[in-house]
Amino acid sequence: MNHAYGNAPMGVMDPPSVVLPKQEHFAQRAQRLCDLSERIEPLRDFLAFMAQLSRAQQRALERNTPAWLPEPDAFVLALEHGMPPLGTQALCRDIDFHSELTALLDGLDLHIGEAQRPLLDTLRKLPKEEIDRLAQEVLEARPGPEASRGLMPLIAAALQVAWLRLVRTLPHPPKRPTAEARSLCPCCGSLPVASVIQIDSKRSGVRYLQCGLCATQWYLERSKCSVCDQSGKLDYLSLEDEAGERLLPTQAETCGDCHSYLKIMPCEFDAHAEPLADDLASLALDLLLAEEKQYRRSGFNPLLIVGE
């Protein structure tokens, strides 16, 4: 389409229904976490550590060569039939996240504080079966045993690297999930961490859920509950300080029908917002909502695990 006068829109917007993460996703998340750690004083050390962890994830993704990788045509059937090609339960026995974990721990070594060093030492000594057991807890979004809960985000980080690596090998993005599974990741079947409203011209104003494990983004209509599909009693709650200024772009999309919430990040407020990073930084929003006792959190963030 060509217009002689001015720049008319290039036809009707046709946003992609599933968007796979970029190769540099962890590096971008690290940068965002780094920025957030300077802005959110009460979480400074925690977010700075998570930024280092994301940087180590990027290095592991680029430098590690896992012992197992699927055959190039392994996903064709699953993609054809609308099944998640990288389902966590199907792949958790094969996928080599142990080497990713080793690479991650080596990459973190020089960059962390004394308080966190014992975590690395404990993880290095932990038997493989025990790591597998904790990984299973992470993949099923369970809280794990209290004593080992501090290790789980590091194992989760290794799982994220392993799955993002596989997602990058897919020949093309999967189709949009069917109605029954619309709020589960079309690549790996995991829960979303939060949703994001995009601002680029190809998908301006379009909302995507982002997977907490593999960072795939998939389309979901705006103003609709991701848990129960209802749209009648949604509210968008955000944090304001005493001067009435917005703290972060993050809002909680709360549903009065099923009494749950999922965070949503409109990029219009901050173009660099990244669902997983901004979810961690907006912990105060969860804490305030928990105090209200009306809504339960549906977003799963494997880098911040809480007990039952």
């Binding site: 966190q116 809960r149 290790l151 985000p153 955000s238 105060a284 804490l287 959190r297 809480v306």
Partner: protein, 197 residues
């Protein structure tokens, strides 16, 4: 309507659970974050799907409103944008639609029936009952005076050409059907739609 819950896994991310969270177990004190919530308050907004009223395309719009969910919270609308999920407009709006907020907030927006009596220069507010009764009276009088049931050659034509009707733009098919039936059954010949104007 039955409530369909597609997934049921929820997480307890509250002040109580922070002491045993992975964050605390990793050596990061959760207390400052828990204490920080005293400095914040929750503010809410609603987003409502609607249609642009200007023309027959009926582009989808999202209306942002603040308030406590009271039914007549139309005054609280603070932002309007194209609905990216709408199958027809896919988030686009024409300049008129993009300016809907000013239309909603306009001081001169007509919110109730008014009449300017012949020979006066002031608009007077009247009730809906009064307005509908007056319109019906005028229509009846005009139709009685000017209805033409036969043409010069004696053919039955049943025409009423001295009154016309301009229908609304964002009508549904059903409304458009009823408008057509009512106007034509009165013999009205001049019937048009604001969407074409």
């Amino acid at each position: 309507m039955t409530l369909k819950v597609t997934r049921r896994q929820f997480f307890k991310l509250g002040a109580v659970g922070m002491a045993t969270s992975s964050m605390a177990m990793m050596g990061f004190a959760p207390e400052p974050a828990v204490a920080s919530i005293r400095h914040f308050k929750l503010t809410g907004a609603k987003i409502t799907r609607s249609n642009c009223t200007y023309c027959s395309v009926g582009c989808g719009v999202l209306l942002y409103s603040r308030g406590d969910g009271a039914i007549n919270s139309i005054d609280n609308i603070y932002h309007v944008e194209g609905d990216p999920d709408h199958p027809v407009s896919r988030g686009s709006l024409c300049p008129k639609g993009a300016g809907l907020l000013d239309y909603i907030q306009s001081e001169s927006r007509l919110k109730y029936p008014q009449v300017r009596e012949p020979g006066t220069h002031e608009w007077k507010r009247i009730s809906w009952d009064e307005a509908l009764t007056r319109i019906a009276r005028h229509m009846k009088d005009d139709r009685d005076a000017n209805f033409v049931d036969q043409d010069a050659e004696g053919n039955t034509i049943n025409q009423w050409t001295t009154t016309g009707m301009l229908a609304a733009s964002a009508s549904t098919n059903e409304t458009a059907y009823l408008s057509q039936k009512i106007a034509r059954s009165l013999g009205m010949v001049v019937l048009d739609n604001q969407a074409r104007v």
